[in-house]
Symmetry: C2
Subunit: 322 residues, 2 copies
Amino acid sequence: MSFRIGIDLMGGDNAPAEVLLGIRRYLDLQADPVSLHLIGDAEMAKAWMQTNGLSMESLTLHHTTEVIGMQEHPTRALKEKPHSSIAKGFQLLAGGEIDAFLSAGNTGAMLVGTLFSIQALEGVIRPTMGTVMPKLNGTTGLILDVGLNADCKPEHLNQFALMGSVYARHMFDIDNPRVGLLNVGEEEGKGNILAQATYPLLKQNNSINFIGNIEGRDLMTDKADVIVCEGFTGNILLKMAESLYDMAQQTGIEHPFLNRFHFEHYGGTPVLGVRKPVIVGHGISGSLAFCNMIRLANQMLQTNILGKMADEIAKADKISPL
Amino acid sequence: MSFRIGIDLMGGDNAPAEVLLGIRRYLDLQADPVSLHLIGDAEMAKAWMQTNGLSMESLTLHHTTEVIGMQEHPTRALKEKPHSSIAKGFQLLAGGEIDAFLSAGNTGAMLVGTLFSIQALEGVIRPTMGTVMPKLNGTTGLILDVGLNADCKPEHLNQFALMGSVYARHMFDIDNPRVGLLNVGEEEGKGNILAQATYPLLKQNNSINFIGNIEGRDLMTDKADVIVCEGFTGNILLKMAESLYDMAQQTGIEHPFLNRFHFEHYGGTPVLGVRKPVIVGHGISGSLAFCNMIRLANQMLQTNILGKMADEIAKADKISPL
């Protein structure tokens, strides 16, 4: 059975054209077969597909009549616009009609929708979001949290470490992912109050391979596979890293390493620690990003990454309940 | 009168050779005349100078017999090694025998020495450290705090904004420096608890030109001249920015913009909000860094930047006492 992936046709600055181009791009890859569920204005979608020669085969349309704008208040918008593409996506996901949902629309609405419709995995204190960090040796690392939790407690970071390890193991095929704590110095005892209090928890955590502190200078080196931090610092880093690609564009630097910082290569950012895959895209996503969001959603479903996360969390809770 | 700048000969991984080479480099520039006070093993220094043809003219030697190692505990080391070059440097600075002190030695000892021997300016709640951030348009911005204060309160950031503005005005010649608050989103109300509570303080602060939030993607663009954050995030950013130069070296990318991230161009990091200039260098400083630390110390003395900071803080305190 192929997985059913829901796609918000109306989300992002370039919707629906780039979303539909991204879908075509995915189909052209002839990668794993998936069942794509397009959520949005059905008439508009059909017209585009006819004009642009995209076949309806393997596509299911879910018609919606409202759109949540990029600047709208998330909770209010979801409540007041039940016929919006984002609200509909979560209805389908919660109702089991689709297996994953992705959108480049209003980020806040996507997160509120995820937390309230899909809910956290059993035992997860705080769902999180991680981002890929390209490394100089060609591999990739994961940094989390990157913005879902601007203020954190040590036990949150400890659980991010576990969720990140499961993700790196199954999504990046890293056997025993090395976990680092983002910090201002190498030695134990360094850092702000949060980092100081988190270090011993990570050290005692038998479910992860903790290797100590990681400094800002080692984000691109191969010291750690998973780097944990609160979502404030993580979000600043995520956006700074993404801007390295823009920097290369502006300065005319051509180099494969800097190209790897282009967010479209990763598609979007998955929410971790919830029951079903939700992927949040950039507002400025183009077709490559949408294509890669579909691939990411499919990979998360194929690996059953969230199920594995649930298992690991249940196991860890038995060893040392928080 | 030329200013008297104290230089720790024993500090850093490449001491004393690179320190002395840096001094020669500075003298060769025939820049502003300064009176250089070399603090360290006098015999070793004299031997080096003889071998390498560096004249003693305009140099004063202060002999010391101890060295604080890079890994020693700062407070304990300063107490137990009163005849170390760092302890001696602070004795000379506190006693008015030198006007500024710089070292690439034990950072902790430099900071403890500064805070205890030199003290904060009247009205300064927390001295801070800022770093230069190269911008794509060729100008430079200042980010602070970058590590002196890992945990901060809103009133600290508010004062960093003022100190950073004075620094940018007089050291970078920027008329009315735009101050941004480092944050995860553009709108007021975004961020962690600290950023949310800091925003209104900055908005109400009439002594600065606050322009709102700055995201990670805008660190290299020309949105703000001064960016404030707590020292945890700032330190991670500082080290990540510095690593961009290393990245360029490793990948073979040759570009003037990336060269600007080489820390040696800035010499070292000045402590702001204290009574006399103290500059903390990287452990791995080479001669260029030492040369530029001397230039930076001299510029701070020439502009009387710390005196101007004291004036502005006194003025701000009269308008709206904290």
